[in-house]
Symmetry: C2
DNA sequence: TATTAATTGAAACTTTTTTATCGATAATTT
DNA sequence: AAATTATCGATAAAAAAGTTTCAATTAATA
């Protein structure tokens, strides 16, 4: 239960979690790996294997207790241990992320956003303060921010990233469609629309051929 | 060059493409797999293998001609063959996608958006018409829309999806944090923030431990 | 109480993906 | 002109991920 977890498995855990939460709301008290697998179109052994990383609450003939499994997953994913983040770029995408309530339950606390547009600096958007991008370094240091979320246009992404790194963030979540250069100890996760679109298009083309 | 391509490889191709386009703008005429690999933190053999699916323009000692490789990738990814799409849900995320100019160069043409808010129906946002969600089915049929992009709140996603399917879309790109049930022939690609956040958080935790 | 059925979890096996090795090629240097 | 070097592309090896099989467990049923 405590070895290095594979990235693939890790990616599936939040999917299980969200399904389980849905099921719990519907009043489902116990659920089996087979049921989960069917709902998500996965192999049932894979589901069991994945879940075993985070929980050992399964009982033969019964399955997993929904409530316990949810809590085990939340624990494993460290959703209780909140991390502070800021968003750089209060355009539509930045706003969408600012306004997305769900992050709190994923252990992500978005503290503020930054932008270069003087008209919005100093205002509140979605109840979060917008600061001048000049202050990134200062505020990131001061408020102990772990994660910087980049939603600027591509051409400003690297400069933004450099400021965040100077401020001391440990990880960057990059929504700008460009790749970033960072010191080795900084974690970067790229969110690449083009990538998923490519996968989608390709499946679509394959299916049109048939 | 024409076998079934792996999803992993396919996901990396757009990343290569965007790097190459950047390099081309900087005036780089030739680039080697090793250089690409270093820039993207990948293995050089993997890069060469990936690229070989889409192109065979590599020359020993020289590398790939940037221009040719770009065009081969665009061809392979079918970016020249435009597909029509609509967005359902003109909230911040919907607007962000409406306004993202980049999609055109990925072969995706966003025709319109739909929403339930009567105040914005009939208006233009980012120069695209917003229609009443009642009309999804009708317009999707009429305009020959291939792809439906769902950016509604989670609780409306399934109903939205059903309408799109009735209208005849072939693929769904789902940004709502819920899993959808669709007929077998419909392609669904889920864009799951929680998933990438989980990967990021986990890396962050690992790095904090050390 | 014995039998059956559903389920877990571990182990063995298969497939896919990634990485390493190597010969061939072409530009550059000696 | 020969030697050297950077690179590609193919093949082989290794690692990772996914699937199948099976024994053990426990609730339900006969």
């Amino acid at each position: 239960m405590n070895k290095q977890i594979s990235k693939r498995t890790l990616s599936r855990l939040p999917v299980y979690l969200s399904l389980l939460q849905e099921k719990e709301r519907e009043g489902v008290e116990y659920i089996s790996a087979t049921t989960i697998a069917n709902l998500l179109d996965l192999n049932h052994v894979q589901v069991r294997k994945d879940l075993s990383c985070a929980s050992s609450a399964g009982r033969p003939k019964v399955g997993y207790e929904t409530k316990v499994l949810i809590s085990d997953l939340q624990n494993f994913l460290d959703y209780n241990n909140t991390k502070n983040a800021v968003i750089i770029g209060a355009g539509d995408l930045g706003k969408a992320l600012l306004g997305y309530g769900g992050f709190t339950s994923y252990g992500l606390n978005i503290v503020a956003a930054f932008d270069t547009n003087p008209e919005i600096c100093g205002t509140l958007i979605k109840n979060k303060p917008i600061y001048n991008a000049e202050k990134i370094e200062e505020l990131v240091k001061e408020q102990n921010i772990d994660i910087g979320i980049i939603t600027t246009p591509a051409q400003f992404a690297q400069a933004t990233c450099d400021r965040l790194v100077k401020g001391g963030v440990k990880a960057i979540w990059n929504f700008a469609p460009t790749s970033l250069t960072v010191p080795k100890h900084i974690i970067v996760q790229n969110e690449n629309m083009a990538t998923s679109l490519a996968v989608l298009s390709n499946k679509l083309n394959e299916s049109l051929k048939e």
